[in-house]
Symmetry: C2
């Protein structure tokens, strides 16, 4: 059974100053953010995945871990599923395999269902269902 397809949905950089970071990608790279109904996050639609910019303090709050100090790092990788059930299935599998669980999946404020695990180097992976994210059959993020 392939329970996790070999793909990435989002890489989110946890930034000190959101507007400074956003200006860098807009002005220096010349990239266009997605129109979005939030002042707290930026998403740039790349090739089948999103580059997100999110304030460091809010990332810490969301992932429930201290990020400064070296144990965890100021970015998160996201694997988005097609249902809430799939999130639970992945957590069940990860626990059975002894993976470090950072935050159990739960309903989150932006309308999704999400939890966090960590790899051996402290890289944070969010496993999430986002009802607003559109993906194609292969799991590429459309918008």
């Amino acid at each position: 059974m392939t329970f996790m397809e070999q793909r990435l949905s989002i890489i989110t950089l946890a930034v000190k100053n959101l507007e400074v970071a956003a200006s860098f990608y807009k002005d220096k790279f010349g990239w266009n953010p997605q129109p979005i109904d939030s002042d707290d996050i930026y998403f740039f639609h790349l090739n089948g995945l999103l580059l997100g910019l999110y304030p460091l303090d809010k990332t810490i709050e969301d992932a429930t871990v201290t990020i400064s100090g070296g144990e965890y790092h100021p970015f998160t990788l996201a694997y988005n599923t097609r249902s809430e059930t799939e999130v639970d299935e992945i957590f069940t599998e990860m626990k059975a395999k002894g993976v470090k669980i950072i935050k159990e999946p739960e309903k989150v404020f932006w309308g999704g269902y999400s939890g966090y695990i960590a790899d051996p180097d402290g890289n944070l992976w969010e496993i999430a269902y986002n009802p607003f994210m559109k993906m194609d059959d292969r799991g590429n993020v459309i918008s």
Copy 2:
């Protein structure tokens, strides 16, 4: 002029122990690395981009910056071009825009041509031409 397309080629995690990290993605995620003629790096082919695993000490050597301590972070994002000239053009543009140059482009040991810049949060971007990387018309990494 669009000098940088809105896409990502590689995210490489700078890991403390390469085999431990590789086992995590192989055994826990169930992902298959690309067959590759090197013991120093792993690449997993995702949706149009690669997830790389590379030892932290070698990442520091390649990027020429100290990564521990918080100024820079233990991962690199790579934007791959279709020629060496394109790498130089991007560096010229970045310098004109006042972007922090970490390492000027140069021929590198793996056969490519590459340099590094940093965003305002110290996230390292490698701008590289890799003659061995296959991309489709839209810049998705094929292999």
